[in-house]
Amino acid sequence: MKQPQHSPHVPYAAHLIERRDLSEDTALFRIAPEPGALAELSSFVPGQFVQLSVPDAGEVPISPADLPTPEGTLELCVRRVGHVTDLLHKLQPGAPLGVRGPFGCGFPLPEMAGHPVLLLAGGLGIAPLRSLLMHLLRHRDGYGEITLMYGAKQPKLMLFRQELAALAADGGMRLYLTVDFAPEQLDGSFSCALGLLPDLLKGFRFDAADTYAAVCGPPPLYRCLISDLEAGGVAPDRILLSLERRMRCGVGRCCHCGIGQKLCCLDGPVFRASDLKGIPEAL
């Protein structure tokens, strides 16, 4: 018998498995959805988002920080910035949650296959790019050189830094880290450049014509990086940007996430820089 279609409004039940603090206001939440969610979640493409429900607070769009496990477990990297995320940060393991999705368009993986990929993350922008990075590393032979450039305000705000260093040590990717400033004494296990992400990119030699760049960070970062990447020879339709909007419904109806004539929840959140030209409010 054909199952009735799951309503687009109704989240699947889920619960919090564990949380791991990554910085003073950001944590990684591992979430177990009910088995019914698995069919939809298993279609996840890095860059897509899910709608996470925190009962009594509401719902927020979050781009998972890794691919769902075969059991459907999700890793969501969330900063405490508002009503919903505040409550999420107070929850204990076992707390009930809800999840809908995935929604939107992720990174165009089939098109990127065989090409070098340059990932540029600023601050919390590492979260959606981490799921792409994990996919690339797990399918290492399917892609060209993989490079991650990651900038944070200061060392203590750099998320996943030990994990990223370990991944780089395995030889699967090149890793460049930079911080805007370093007020703290750094221990020997951590080294990074001092300066902004565009500075890091300036000194970088790569095969720009063949490369796909994936960028995620605060809006001002996009503006500098897009022009630098284009000037360096990366085609605008190969500059992939993961944009943030406050999607309420996720299915193209609430109209909060319009960018020009596109909707972030259906056409994005991953857009090509070439598709955003001439849209003043895009970045």
Binding site: P55, R246, C255
Partner: protein, 321 residues
């Protein structure tokens, strides 16, 4: 059954027949003098010569506030729609086209359960209108997006059926109808400003600055628009545990509309005005390229600072920045 004619003297009986198909709503006037669609208790309250209601009939399909989910005990459940059968009588073509547009939004792809439930129980009876200075529709004669449509003739109405339900209504009212050949609809004499290449109008046109300098972001234009459907979603816990998730009309002219954590993508009034009218005239995915302005004239009539968007949509040479 063609050429159905209802004499005006039998209108009250016809309305009684419509009641067999659901609760009857029609244009009436409130105590404060505002035209509105409301339950029709007494046929004497009917105001069929109205120009436009303040709030369009979208309120029946897309209520101002609606419980969409209940939660508690570890899970979320669909909110129960309590929609009963409803007949709306006396809807103008522009509002019928507005509903047809909302159908595209809420019934396509993954249909919205609440909207779909209400829509399936809704009977629409349209009526021809007489445009006034605020109207700017392009096809005011007769909309087929209804079950029945009435157009005025000598001492009564010619009735056309556009659906199986419409035919059922006519059968039920058969004893009230007589056969009379329909007259061709008279040409609309009111002003008409079809949009001319609207995408051009959404560049850095100086008119946007002019509008933004007077707009007070009250949001009246989108509240009264038959095709505005932005909504916000909120969650309200109860003291006994569990709670409700509601959705309610939102307004893209409000400063909060473009907010994300720590930023706002439409901080200025000009951005928000343009966002609204870009959506209205050019459409968002998946209805990109389709204008959803039905020309009802409400946004102009109810704007407290007299912004007239038709200035943007008339031919470029007529625009005086």
């Amino acid at each position: 059954m063609a050429n159905n004619f209802l004499k005006i003297s039998r209108l009250d009986q016809f309305l009684e027949t419509l009641r067999l198909f659901g609760e009857l709503h029609a244009p009436t006037v409130s105590e404060s003098g505002v035209h509105r669609f409301s339950p029709l208790e007494d046929p004497d309250e009917l105001h069929l010569d109205y120009r436009r209601t303040q709030i369009p009939p979208k309120k029946y399909l897309f209520p101002f506030r609606e419980e969409i989910l209940h939660y508690g005990g570890g899970g979320y459940r669909e909110g129960h729609s309590s929609a009963g059968d409803l007949v709306i009588f006396g809807v103008h073509s522009c509002d019928l086209e507005g509903i047809a547009y909302l159908d595209r939004v809420f019934l396509a792809d993954r249909p919205d359960p609440g909207y779909a439930a209400r829509r399936s129980r809704l009977t629409l009876v349209g009526i021809a209108c007489e445009p006034d200075d605020f109207c700017f529709c392009t096809a005011a004669t007769e909309s087929a997006s209804c079950d029945l449509f009435l157009s005025a003739g000598q001492d009564g109405y010619h009735i056309t059926s556009y659906s199986a339900r419409g035919s059922a209504l006519l059968s039920a009212a058969d004893h009230l109808l007589e056969e009379r050949a329909a007259q061709p609809s008279p040409a609309i004499s009111g002003p008409c400003y079809p949009a001319q290449d609207p995408e051009l109008r959404f560049s850095d046109h100086p008119l946007w600055q002019k509008f933004a300098s007077t707009c007070v972001s009250c949001g009246a234009c989108s509240v009264c628009c038959p095709t505005c459907y932005c909504f916000d979603v909120r969650e309200y816990p109860t003291l006994s545990g569990g709670g409700t998730r509601i959705r309610e009309w939102d307004n893209c002219l409000f400063a909060t509309h473009g907010e994300v954590a720590g930023a706002n993508f439409r901080p200025d009034r000009l951005d928000r005005l343009r966002y609204r009218f870009l959506h209205k005239y050019c459409g968002f995915t998946p209805l990109q390229g389709m204008s959803s302005c039905v020309g009802c004239g409400r946004c102009k009539e109810f704007c407290p600072v007299d912004i007239d968007l038709r200035e943007l949509t008339v031919a470029p040479e007529k625009v005086e920045p």
